[in-house]
């Protein structure tokens, strides 16, 4: 044991010069790739956001400092987009967590043929985002879509609802598509955690007379809480960045009702070629996500004292 510890020490604390060089060389290719595609553009975007930079007007690009940022922050369209992003994120993340938890619990039951369920549950997640969006766009199609057909043929509705054409409904259809694709991921993460829940406390609790629900609430749930939080963080960040699904389904319409901040940023940059504004938006979004992530990490650190 002691010998092993000594060896560990040698390996980690005092890296000989040769090894330092080697470490550098091994990191270099990856760092190079990432540096040029992530780090440099990061700075580039920051720089771009400080100028009035409209692509089609290359001769007029004055330095405006925080002008682009104040323009965006003062633009009611921006705040409308943020609000829609929040609605989308809260709705999809909460539904995914609840359904994912239920699905994981279901998959954890000793049911015969549950391997079928476990095997097939990955399907929605494996679908490429664009295929998923396309599929739901087709299902939600007002005249010929399966959703309206199902509702009318089973008598649940007597008229065709314009799912993607009604500004009040469209955003929830987009949420539905997102939930379909991502719930399996959440479920699989939680399932993995459920499978590590130790049996002794549960059996002890049963002996003491605890009911199923109490066991779940006090033992199982607290055990899987860290995974739930991780899933929450991942899904929230993804939901804020969502672009593909909405773009394919509604392009931000109708009447901008599904225009979340990622769509809004894209349209600012590419419809009107306002790269300065688009750059500022990119940073504002990144800031929003970072703040959210920080909040979650706080919660994570605080809640995992076990």
């Amino acid at each position: 044991m002691q010998l092993f510890a000594e060896r560990q020490l040698k390996l980690t604390r005092r890296l000989p010069k040769g090894e330092q060089w080697l470490a550098g060389a091994m990191i270099a290719p990856a760092a190079f790739v990432i540096f040029f595609v992530a780090a440099v553009p990061l700075v580039g975007v920051l720089w771009m956001s400080l100028f009035h930079h409209v692509l089609i007007n290359p001769n007029y690009q004055p330095f405006v400092g925080l002008g682009n940022y104040t323009d965006q922050l003062g633009n009611p369209d921006f705040w409308a987009a943020v609000q829609r992003s929040l609605i989308f994120t809260v709705a999809s993340t909460s539904i995914e967590l609840v359904l994912g938890l239920l699905l994981a619990l279901l998959m954890n039951q000793p049911l015969r043929l549950r391997w079928i369920l476990r095997g097939l549950v990955i399907l929605p997640w494996a679908l490429p985002g664009v295929s998923n969006a396309l599929m739901w766009r087709w299902i939600d199609q007002a005249q010929y879509g399966a959703l309206n057909a199902l509702l009318t043929q089973t008598g649940l509705s007597n008229s065709y609802i314009n799912w993607l054409g009604d500004p009040h409904i469209a955003i929830y259809m987009v949420v539905l598509a997102d939930v379909y694709k991502n719930t399996p991921l959440v479920a699989l993460l939680i399932l993995a955690a459920l499978q590590t829940v130790p049996k002794e406390p549960i059996e002890a609790a049963r002996v003491d007379g605890a009911g199923s629900f109490q066991i779940f609430r006090y033992i199982t749930l607290s055990w899987i809480k860290p995974v739930i939080l991780i899933a929450l963080v991942l899904r929230t960040m993804d939901a804020f960045k969502v672009f593909d699904t909405i773009w394919i389904m509604t392009k931000g319409g109708p009447a901008n009702s599904t225009q979340t901040i990622a769509i809004y940023a894209y349209q600012t940059a590419y419809n009107t070629y306002n790269f300065g504004g688009g750059a500022a938006l990119g940073y504002l979004i990144a800031l929003l996500i970072a703040v959210l992530a920080a909040i979650y990490i706080r919660l994570l650190r605080g809640g995992t004292a076990r």
């Binding site: 409209v54 692509l55 089609i56 007007n57 290359p58 001769n59 007002a142 005249q143 314009n162 993607l164 054409g165 009604d166 500004p167 392009k251 319409g253 109708p254 009447a255 901008n256 349209q267 590419y270 419809n271 009107t272 070629y273 306002n274």
Partner: protein, 421 residues
């Protein structure tokens, strides 16, 4: 050490592969003596790719010292490709296809050449005047009109006859009367179908209807102030909202584009619809249409939106004269009269030739009138932003979220901001 060598070889191989991959993409050359032009077109824009290739071959035969390399891209990519090529790009293209809503933006950015003094007089007098407006900005012409198209009013003759109307409406008020009659007599549930999705097409329909209102389709006054929240444009939006609210317009129109309107018309599910030239052929195609012979076509009351495209010459072009020669050749009366299956000519004289019109006399008769009365959408450099805002406003007015006046006022208020970008 063997492993290190292995790594190095693998690395070199990867780099080599990547380099080869990169090299294989672009390849262009022009031999000494002959000029090589690069032309950018749009796929399925009127003339088929093959027809354009044929025209190009004919041009090359007539001009042995000029070669033309053509490229076709989807409409959505066309604008971007032109902009990125000219602004900070390599400036490859000599002549590009320009949509009627881009001259202001392109001219303002200086990426297309001013052709006003270069167009021959027989061209400027022989082609429909309103076609030129599609390439015009501030009194200067930046494009050679080539693809002519406008919105026509398609109507179902059988349904109208059933309701007792022997002629299509000549004003929008008349259309409303006819539509109301058709609906109340139970002939069709939704007499009118429009391409009112949140897209450029919504603005097209709106412009067409505005042309037929009192005041016409005037979006800005002489000093550049917005007037689209009053007069003709306002009346048009109010009419559209009224049609929707009274059940005269198909509510699904709010998600419809040109293809959808065509489908509804040729399925016999609408009595009126605004759409482009191509619907005519589909309406009389027995394999697609359920109402062959029943669809009539007439110029939209008051005028239709100019949906044409012109050939512009880029700022970066080093062969302006050759490019102009090519463009004028494509747009010449001779060439256009040769290929009339997919696009109508833009020469006034063509419409006096009965044998050209033989296959589709209705269409040609309507086109003769319509091409004389085309109206343009707003010609401002910030048209993209404006159009986006207008599209949202149209949708809000049609869904009832805002009144037409309020929706348009909102956009008008944003104009100063847009203009300063």
């Amino acid at each position: 050490m063997a492993t290190k060598v292995r790594y190095r070889i693998a690395g070199l191989a990867a780099v080599a592969l990547i380099a080869l991959e990169g090299c294989s993409s672009s390849g262009q050359g022009s031999s000494g003596g002959t000029i090589t032009l690069h032309a950018l077109f749009m796929k399925q824009a009127g003339y088929s790719d093959q027809e354009v290739a044929d025209m190009t071959t004919a041009f090359e035969a007539a001009n042995p010292d000029i070669k033309v390399q053509t490229e076709f891209v989807a409409y959505e990519a066309l604008h971007d490709k032109i902009v990125t090529d000219q602004v900070g790009g390599s400036g490859i293209y000599d002549t590009v296809l320009m949509d009627t809503i881009w001259p202001a933006e392109f001219a303002h950015a200086g990426i297309v050449q001013d052709l006003t003094s270069m167009l021959p007089s027989d061209f400027t007098t022989g082609v429909f005047q309103s076609a030129f407006a599609g390439g015009e900005y501030n009194g200067h012409f930046y494009g050679v009109p080539w693809l002519n198209d406008t919105e026509f009013l398609f109507y179902n003759k059988a349904m109208l006859a059933q309701a007792g109307f022997s002629n299509p409406p000549t004003t929008w008020a008349e259309l409303m009367t006819q539509a109301q009659a058709l609906k109340s007599k139970g002939i069709v549930q939704y007499p009118f179908v429009g391409q009112w999705a949140q897209s450029e097409l919504g603005v097209c329909d709106w412009t067409t209807i505005a042309a037929g209102q009192s005041g016409g389709a005037t979006f800005f006054d002489g000093s550049g102030n917005p007037t689209f929240n009053q007069g003709g444009p306002l009346a048009a939006l109010q009419l559209m909202a009224q049609m929707k609210n009274e059940g005269l317009a198909n509510p699904a129109s709010l998600g419809y584009g040109s293809d959808d309107v065509r489908n509804v018309l040729i399925a016999g599910q609408a009595a009126f619809g605004l759409d482009w030239t191509y619907v005519y052929a589909a309406a009389n195609d027995p394999s697609q249409s359920k109402v062959v012979g029943q669809i009539g076509i007439t110029a939209a009351p008051g005028g239709g939106t100019n949906g044409g495209m012109s050939m512009a010459i880029t700022r970066s072009s080093k062969h302006v004269d050759a490019a102009l020669k090519y463009d004028l050749f494509l747009a010449s009366q001779e060439q256009e009269e040769k290929y009339t299956d997919n696009a109508l000519p833009e020469w006034k004289a063509s419409f006096d030739k009965p044998d050209l019109a033989k296959g589709a006399p209705d269409l040609w008769a309507a086109a003769k009138v319509a091409f004389n009365t085309m109206v343009s959408r707003p010609m401002v450099p910030y048209y993209t932003s404006l159009s986006n805002a207008l599209q949202v406003a149209i949708q809000k007015a049609l869904t009832g979220e805002e009144t037409p006046k309020a929706a348009l006022d909102d956009v008008a208020a944003q104009v100063p901001n847009m203009a300063n970008q």
